[in-house]
């Protein structure tokens, strides 16, 4: 039975380690690289090496950066008194895409998840409390996902932050997605939307 040469098998195995990539997709990507021009293949290899050698977590917030401070922390127009706490950098990017928030961020590095063995000491909780105290933050927005783990993390942080005087702690609203039909929403989402209802102004 014919098999791929060793170098191709190695590339397929490397692609298989990526999240959501199964054996068929890995094979397709490897064949694509084989067919690509030398310039495109080198560009891909260089991009992977560059991201591994130059990117590090921002010293202040944990966002990805190639300098000491990320572009958000280094931006003097951002309000340092308003801090949005997110689980992952991808959540920070999602909020930035919305273009509504002009404060700064703190990346926890995950959510509290006992089922996965993740407790408070595995997240940047201590650094968050230190930041809130040292940088005179006046509002913390807890922007974890509205899941069991996200809610529990938010409530855990809210309790810790409750000890900081003159600090407002808020949570992202949760409920119906924009453009959705009420009729199609599940009862948990409708219950969350009802309990989080607000006065029309």
């Amino acid at each position: 039975m014919a098999t791929y040469p060793r170098a191709v098998t190695r590339l397929i195995e490397a692609f298989r380690k990526l999240p959501g990539v199964g054996p068929k997709s890995a094979q397709r990507y490897a064949v694509h690289v084989l067919r690509a021009s030398m310039d495109d293949a080198r560009e891909l290899a260089d991009a992977i090496l560059e991201v591994k050698t130059s990117i590090k977590p921002c010293k202040r917030c944990g966002n990805y950066t190639d300098t000491d401070l990320c572009s958000v922390c280094a931006d003097p127009r951002r309000d340092p008194r308003s801090l949005c706490v997110v689980s992952y950098v991808r959540d920070l990017m999602a909020i930035e895409r919305a273009g509504e928030f002009r404060g700064q961020y703190h990346v926890l590095g995950g959510v509290l998840s006992p089922a996965d063995g993740i407790g408070p000491e595995d997240l940047t909780v201590g650094a968050l409390i230190e930041r809130v105290r040292d940088e005179h933050v006046t509002e913390v927005i807890l922007a974890t996902s509205p899941s069991v783990e996200g809610d529990a993390t938010a409530l855990y942080l809210a309790r810790l932050l409750g000890a900081v005087p003159e600090l407002e702690v808020t949570r992202l609203a949760s409920g119906l997605p924009a453009g959705a039909d009420l009729d199609y929403a599940d009862q948990t989402t409708i219950a969350a939307a009802l309990s989080g209802r607000r006065r029309l102004e």
């Binding site: 999240p19 959501g20 509290l112 998840s113 006992p114 089922a115 996965d116 063995g117 993740i118 407790g119 408070p120 000491e121 899941s147 069991v148 783990e149 809610d151 529990a152 993390t153 409530l155 855990y156 997605p177 959705a180 199609y184 929403a185 599940d186 009862q187 948990t188 989402t189 219950a191």
Partner: protein, 248 residues
């Protein structure tokens, strides 16, 4: 493809591919069920709420080719939102779900374990005493899963457990009399708390929570039962490590 509606409790869920999830469900009729929930990580998914951990739901399941079935829809029966209001409750519920997951196989009915887990989750969500609920769950689930703690006879010599400083020894299967094993002060079980935990064994959960146990004795029993469960399941229980760190 066979389709049926099962009443399920979500034990855990894992991300699968770009936007899907794999849910481990416990049902009364079919025991553990593995089901994929397509696009359930997207915000407008109707499946996402059904497979949130600890949710009780009526799930429409379509049989797949292998062990993994497909979640096609359903209704949430009880979301037990009270659990997520406290990280210790989440950790305790996760421990109970993890034990049910590790101790069951797909296709084997588990009506008593299902009923036990449901009772415990309901009371956890209501805010009842977490440590006592955990003690009750560990005591009863270990019996249902085939490695119940011996409360009447010394697990080592078989003699009656009459009293004295009784040691919890997971390696021999439960409590041992002072003649067989001795343990340090603060780690042994006294006759009064043994009587009370025996009553736990024969009581419904709400009644058991009324049985008085001092904090010190509850801790001795919980530590012993956790060690007993961990020893007999022979797996590391990740949620137990987090629960312990939260208790410190």
């Amino acid at each position: 493809m066979r389709e049926r509606v099962l009443r399920t409790i979500t034990l855990l869920r894992r991300d699968l591919g770009e936007a899907d999830r794999l849910a481990v469900l416990l049902s009364r009729e079919e025991g553990k069920v593995l089901a994929s929930a397509k696009s359930s990580r997207k915000p407008n998914s109707r499946l996402a709420a059904l497979i949130e951990p600890f949710v009780l739901a009526d799930c429409r399941i379509i049989e797949g080719r292998g062990e993994i079935q497909r979640l096609a829809g359903g209704e949430v029966v009880e979301p037990f939102r009270g659990i997520r209001s406290d990280i210790e409750r989440v950790a305790r519920a996760s421990l109970m779900a993890e034990i049910a997951d590790q101790g069951t196989e797909p296709g084997s009915a588990a009506p008593r374990l299902f009923a036990l887990l449901l009772d415990c989750l309901r009371l956890l969500a209501e805010g009842a005493a977490g440590p006592s609920i955990e003690l009750y769950y560990l005591l009863h689930s270990s019996r249902l899963l085939g490695y119940g703690l011996s409360l009447d006879h010394c697990a080592s010599c078989g003699g009656d457990l009459a009293g004295g400083e009784l040691a919890m020894v997971p390696e021999v299967g439960g409590l041992a009399c002072p003649a067989c094993y001795t343990v340090a002060a603060g780690r042994w079980v006294d006759a009064l708390s043994l009587e009370r935990v025996r009553a736990y064994r024969h009581s419904r959960l709400r009644v058991a929570l009324e049985i008085p146990l001092s904090n010190g004795q509850r801790k001795v029993w919980l530590d012993g039962l956790r060690a007993h469960v961990r020893y007999h399941m022979d797996v590391s229980l990740r949620s137990l490590d987090v629960l312990r760190s939260l208790e410190r």
